[in-house]
Amino acid sequence: MRNGVSTSMPALLMLLMLSPAVLAQTSSVYPPGWLPCPRCQTAQERTAARKGVEGREFNPRDISGIWGNNGVELNIVVPPFTPKGKEMYDATRADETADGVAVSNSKDGMLICDPLGYPRWFAYNYGMQFVVLPDRVLQFFELGHTWRDIWTDGRKLPENPPQPRWLGYAVGRWEGDTFVVESTGYDDRAWLQEDRRDRRWGFSHSDQLRIVERYRRTSYATLDAELTIIDPVVFTKPWTTKATIQLSAGTELWEYLCVTSESEAFNEQRLRVQVGAK
């Protein structure tokens, strides 16, 4: 489910061994009783927390917990576009300076704090927490500090949703030990994901988007996820991504709100400066 950046194994190992998190020492920035956010953990903190829950008993039909910390990116091998889908993809191309340098992700709503929508919030994972209630499963996201309702009370998906939603309309059910989520009614202004091959483009979707997700807890600390994107307006066939997401043991969700004034300042004082954009 990682992106398609091709990296040889030795180089990859070097990167992992020398990652900043490995270099950094255990931080002591947390007040007593407070925990790091999923992405705040140092490698040492993460390793120790994982060891602490290793082999712990679990209920496969309870997916509660904070999962992931650093992206659960969609499989970058995209199915062929429809002509309309190609047109939509092309329209996401970043603006360029007079010298032909792309102004980073200039069409990306993320940079002006538009909601990421779904599944982009899933893919951009800074930590995602499932909370199981009797009538629904809540899916909280640290990035954006928002949540999605997955209704398990037997209701059906609306055939004609009254309002498109950035996070869609979602219903869930158990098939054995697999939690299956179906969703629809998405606002077509969101992207499925930025195109991580060079981030000049984004993968658009239409308002006909449907998503089928399948989650299976295979140990206390691992969750298998399969996500299938069905959008006949954009793609000629479904687009499926699989991943195993690790429990972010020893963490709690923090507040990562996108603040428009801060993003605008960042864009003006950094992104546009670095490419010499006027």
Partner: protein
């Protein structure tokens, strides 16, 4: 802030760290040519903006004519910066720093941070992610 003190981190090693981080960046890194020779700029910290989406680092450098130019570099998001040992108190306005990084191809005062050395010799690696 002892935990952030990556004393003696080899330059090449910091470069590799940056490559690893860039894979998960919130934005791409146009405007910087990785083949450009890094430069070193001494100056004083003007602002250390401990905010998302990415932590920004501004410092003032006197150019050869004596004119003060404000440069900008960036670290990762606040969570990613915490993971690598930075805190909101890592830098103080007015402190002396020597910053190394790749300058923007456009000739603007922006840099892709490689490392920052404080007056006491503390070395801090930097990268966006």
């Amino acid at each position: 802030m002892k935990s952030q003190r990556l004393r003696g981190a080899a330059f090449a090693l910091v470069s590799i760290v940056m490559l690893g981080s860039a894979l998960a960046a919130h934005h791409s890194q146009p405007g910087f040519n990785p083949n450009t020779k890094p430069i070193e700029l001494k100056g004083t910290v003007a602002e250390y903006r401990w905010r998302n989406p990415h932590v920004l680092f501004f410092w003032d450098v006197k150019d050869p004519s004596g004119k003060v130019v404000r440069w900008v570099g960036e670290f990762g998001s606040v969570p990613s910066s915490i993971a690598r040992g930075l805190t909101k108190d890592t830098f103080k306005v007015g402190e002396e720093v020597t910053v190394t990084g790749i300058p923007a191809t456009a000739g603007t005062p922006a840099i892709q941070l490689r490392q920052i050395v404080k007056a006491d010799g503390t070395v801090i690696g930097g990268a966006a992610d």
